[in-house]
């Protein structure tokens, strides 16, 4: 409650939260495509590749103008992305090696330029590295407006090319065969992704920007099989973690905003992995246990049925050891008794004596239908 009040009153906080929310939404949407195309780490490489552009622009202009620096970052980010795509297409080098190579050599070049700038007489270069390492708390109203403007453009482009992007993410070969140009779509998607990364750099920094591009998409993927739902969910997760992260970092002393946002979104991912409907590990585990028990029950019943067929009197009782098919006598017996008790409860078997069991009419019918269905029927 206190945090809500703070959010409504504190102007600076509103600005930062708004910026983080926009960033979360945009990177959630674009991240969904990156995750589906198995290019999650592109964000990491591009955000590193932006450094030489920033340093180069500063070297030429000598002033710290946000728009110009962003433009430099954008251009060198794009060059990096196209290098990665070209290396990936023309050589046998794997995509991840191309990423790592571009990331390290571009960042290295950026460091070279930064140290070169530092040595220049009376250059006011202090704080240039904040562009790379990010500082959400220093976001200004103007920065947030730029972010909103670019964010809206990016979302419009996604809406406009929705069909192509969808086709490209799931079946590029088919798309090519019916006449869509993969190269063009790749260029469009990479370009808007680079723009999104560049606007994120300033607030959360290089390393954390890559998380924002991966995590919302992965979390959203767990809840749905539809691309449209996935994109919307990813955007919502992005917004939620952006706002919550900003709030936490403003309520607790000495809490850096970017890392808190990343921790929040990571927790959302872990929660989704465990509890998402259908796919979640937790539900999968329960379903798995149920299936296993079901199969064991059927196995015991069929065994009982086959034993019964060997006798003139089908209701002839059998000892637990005979019914048990496993090698492990002690543990196996206990297990079989448990299964048999369950069968008795359902009326498929009868306990004759304290460790002998016989099948019932209902059980015979059930066993026959299981065999006819090749085990496909559950008890």
């Amino acid at each position: 409650m206190m945090s809500l009040e703070l959010l409504l009153k504190d102007y600076t906080l509103q600005i930062v939260a708004l910026g983080s929310a926009v960033l979360g939404a945009v990177s959630g949407v674009l991240g969904s495509f990156a995750v589906l195309r198995k290019q999650s780490l592109l964000g990491d490489a591009v955000s590193h590749a932006a450094l030489p552009g920033i340093a180069f622009v500063f070297l030429i202009t000598g002033i710290k103008n946000t728009e110009m620096l962003l433009l430099g970052a954008l251009i060198s980010g794009l060059i990096g992305t196209f290098m990665i795509i070209i290396i990936d297409q023309y050589t046998r080098i794997k995509f991840d090696s191309a990423l790592g190579l571009t990331l390290s050599s571009f960042f290295g070049l950026g460091l070279v330029l930064l140290t070169y700038i530092q040595k220049l007489p009376n250059s006011n270069q202090a704080g240039l590295e904040h562009f790379i390492f990010g500082q959400a708390s220093t976001l200004l109203k103007r920065d947030v407006f730029i972010m909103i403007g670019l964010g809206v453009i990016i979302l419009l482009v996604v809406a406009l090319f929705w069909k192509e992007l969808k086709l490209f993410s799931f079946d590029p070969q088919f798309g090519k065969s019916i006449g869509f140009s993969n190269v063009k779509i790749n260029v469009i998607l990479s370009s808007i992704t680079v723009v999104a990364i560049i606007i994120g750099l300033q607030s959360v920094g290089v390393i954390l920007m890559s998380a924002l591009l991966v995590a919302p998409g992965v979390a959203a993927r767990q809840w749905t099989d539809k691309l449209s739902m996935m994109v919307i969910l990813a955007a919502l997760f992005g917004i939620f973690s952006g706002v919550l992260g900003t709030l936490i970092s403003s309520l607790v002393d000495n809490m850096p905003t970017g890392p808190v946002i990343v921790v929040v979104i990571s927790l959302i991912v872990f929660f989704s992995l465990f509890f998402a409907s259908n796919r979640g590990i937790f539900w999968r585990h329960i379903k798995h246990g149920k299936n296993k028990r079901n199969i064991n029950d059927s196995r015991v019943l069929i065994n009982l049925y086959e034993l019964a067929l060997n006798h003139k009197d089908v209701y002839h009782p059998h000892k637990t050891e005979v019914i048990n098919l496993t090698n492990n006598k002690d543990k196996g017996n206990a297990n079989v008794i448990k299964r048999l008790l369950y069968l008795c409860e359902k009326g498929y078997a009868k306990r004759d004596y304290f460790d002998t069991w016989s099948i019932t009419d209902k059980g015979i019918k059930k066993a026959k239908s299981i065999i006819d269905n090749q085990g496909g029927e559950s008890l």
Binding site: D44, S97, S105, G108, Y116, K119, A211, P259, V262
Partner: protein
Amino acid sequence: MTPQLEIVIIAVIVSAACSVLGVFLILRKMAMMTDAISHTILLGIVVAFFITESLTSPLLIIGAALVGLLTVYLTEALRRTRLMAEDSSIGIVFPFLFSIAIILITKYAGNIHLDVDSVLLGELVFVPFDRLIVLGRDIGAKSLYVMGTILFIDLLYVILFYKELKLVTFDAALAAVLGFSPIAIHYSLMGLVSITAVGAFEAVGSILVIAFMIGPPVSAYMITDKLRNMLILSTLIGIINSIIGYRLSVIFDVAIAGSIATVIGITFLIVFITAPKRGMLTIINSRRRRKIEYAMASLLLHLCNHENTDREEIESNRHSIYQHLNWSKKFLEKILYKALNLNYITLNNEYLKLTPKGREYAIRCYDDIGYSI
């Protein structure tokens, strides 16, 4: 030993240690794990620092290496759920652990010297200041001995387990069938990568660690197809790059790590363009040659098909044939020029006619296509 010489030797040792392991990483599609590990070890350093309250304790290296392994394990665990691809699992684990490290540093170690930027970027210039003193005598820079030991272990590991590494890298299933454990090899390799990254990270910073682990092996991969040659070549490239990078950084007075990383990138670019078998130039050339060869065969086959039929006049007119073949006019002119030069066809008024040589060529092409189908 002068500090300059020490810096160069340390750079060379680090490059050799990293590029030997890097070869296996890029072949096993684990290149980005180096990026992940070289960032998450910060968490190990921070936690070990809180326990020992000292920045020089060897526990820091152990803690960092353990977190490196933890990163590998968590990534594997996430991937094994089959709920996400491998690259996504890396992209989730490493920013998460790294963020925790940054939060811990800002919250609890704000007043202690544990500067994030300097940890990440590293600076070789300061390496010679950290001396190893044994029995009161200065025997050289500490990093020299640390990295020397690590290089020795890495080389020993690769030489001793060369066969196993090769098998697991190229055919993990076969290795498992033959009784080698791909998991044991995987974790021992990643353990060494962690230790190497930790040791190198102190000296050269994480960016150069990534550059050394990926750059030289990838360049070597462009040149050779043999694992042994690739190991030797990538070590050599790493060593040469660090010497050139250091010289350039002295000349221009810039960051050594950045300069070496840039040289590594440029080396790759040169290899990428000019490599004998897989370079861009070769690929573009051979694609163009194949395109022309194919076009020539299409033209000759087209003429051959319609030779002595009643449609011959329509099909072999030089002003309309490009429409039949679905080519541009310019492309047709180019191919025609070549065909005339090679004496495959003759120009009779406006009609193209096959020469005996051209007919023979067309028939041979037809047979080749028949065989390949």
